[in-house]
């Protein structure tokens, strides 16, 4: 769908193995708001014929979509930037109240070496906000640890019916596009 250039494997080397993990878990729906941090992973999902990738207007739609997907017997993954987390806190209560599995991948802004002031309040509060919504948070800042962390998070989410977010450090998501 997107014609935008996808970051190279070199720029975001963790994305391809994460996509492999999503395939291993038979993830069939992906929901996203376009985001530079996840750009390579989004591109891989869009190109994957086994996954239905849904472009959202705002992030909370994705949380609701994941609930519907699970009700219908499919697994999904929800991709968001850290700012988008702040739009979802209320919708996450549905996931909690119904004990619906949720796998969320969060790409950070306002954190590692951020030069842009307006990203800082939300970025610094992302993990606390997720935890306020009772989401289990796994933070990862080494490229070679991302896929294994997503694998652990997915196993936990889908086997124990929990909401689990893998928060990918800004250290790994910057592609040099903007300062």
């Amino acid at each position: 769908m997107a014609k935008a250039p996808i970051p190279t494997r070199k720029q975001q080397p963790w994305a391809d193995p994460v996509h492999g993990v999503l395939r291993d878990f038979d993830i069939r729906q992906m929901a996203y708001v376009p985001d530079g941090g996840h750009a390579r992973l989004i591109g891989l999902c869009l190109a994957d014929p086994k996954m239905r990738s849904v472009l959202l207007t705002t992030e909370e739609e994705g949380v609701a979509q994941m609930a519907g997907a699970w009700l219908g017997g499919q697994r999904g993954v929800f991709l968001t930037q850290s700012g988008g987390v702040g739009n979802c806190i209320n919708m996450l209560s549905v996931i909690q109240e119904c004990r619906i599995p949720l796998l969320a991948l969060v790409s950070m802004r306002g954190q590692w070496g951020e030069t842009f002031p307006w990203q800082v309040p939300m970025g610094q509060g992302t993990q606390a906000a997720l935890e306020a919504a009772n989401v289990i948070v796994k933070h990862v800042d080494e490229a070679d640890q991302v896929a294994e962390t997503v694998r652990a998070a997915a196993a936990m989410a889908f086997n124990t019916s929990r909401a689990v977010a893998v928060v990918v450090s800004q250290r790994l998501t910057e592609t040099g596009g903007r300062g």
Binding site: E60, G83, G84, V85, G86, N87, C88, I89, N90, M91, L92, S93, V94, Q96, E97, P117, W118, Q119, V120, P121, M122, Q124, G125, T126, Q127, A128, A129, E131, A132, A133, N134
Partner: protein, 188 residues
């Protein structure tokens, strides 16, 4: 509390006036600070306050489709030289966390009056996850949180919060406990 009659017309309740309603104390604070824009998502607990704002000729009452719009409205109002308040339920806080980054980053004043659901005597389980995380979510982005858990404390707490918001230029939320608001009970 009065709230037990969920179907009672809030208007008549506000006028009935045996005891002064806590929302009247909030309204006094809003007037004392000369607030001109009050953005809200309807809420049973604050209904008399919303109606008072709608009736007031100097206040523009702005109904929202979702709470985060109110953060933008009040930031714009501040730029234009008017102050205001956002009236919402605790669940609505969960829609605003990202947007709150704007007034925090710009050091703009913002006063939020939040009626709690999902705590004291709540019957609806779906309300619990969000309400139990309301204060933590606000503090996660740097909002100052005050609480009032008795009707008598509401007025002074909102007054204190308004000073911090408008005089000290901070983003402040007052959480009004469900004990004050009362809890619905559809089971009878």
């Amino acid at each position: 509390m009065a709230q037990a009659k969920a179907k009672a017309k809030p208007k008549s309740r506000a006028k009935a006036g045996a005891a002064r309603h806590w929302t009247a104390d909030i309204f006094d604070v809003l007037k004392r600070h000369n607030l001109k824009q009050v953005a809200y998502v309807p809420d049973t607990g604050q209904a008399p306050l919303i109606e008072a704002c709608i009736r007031d000729n100097e206040i523009r009452a702005i109904p929202l489709t979702t709470e985060e719009e109110g953060i933008g409205v009040l930031a714009g109002a501040h730029l234009g030289g008017e102050e205001g308040a956002l009236l919402l339920q605790s669940s609505g806080i969960g829609n605003c966390i990202n947007m709150l980054g704007v007034p925090i980053e710009c050091r703009m004043p913002l006063l939020m009056i939040v009626t709690m659901r999902g705590e004291w005597g709540e019957f609806n389980p779906w309300q619990l996850p969000m309400s139990q995380g309301t204060q933590a979510a606000l503090e996660a982005v740097g909002v100052i949180v005050l609480r009032a858990d008795s009707a008598e404390r509401v007025g002074e707490t909102v007054a204190a919060a308004a000073k911090m918001a408008f005089d000290a230029g901070r983003v402040v939320a007052v959480l009004i406990g469900q004990r004050v608001v009362g809890h619905k009970n559809w089971d009878r």
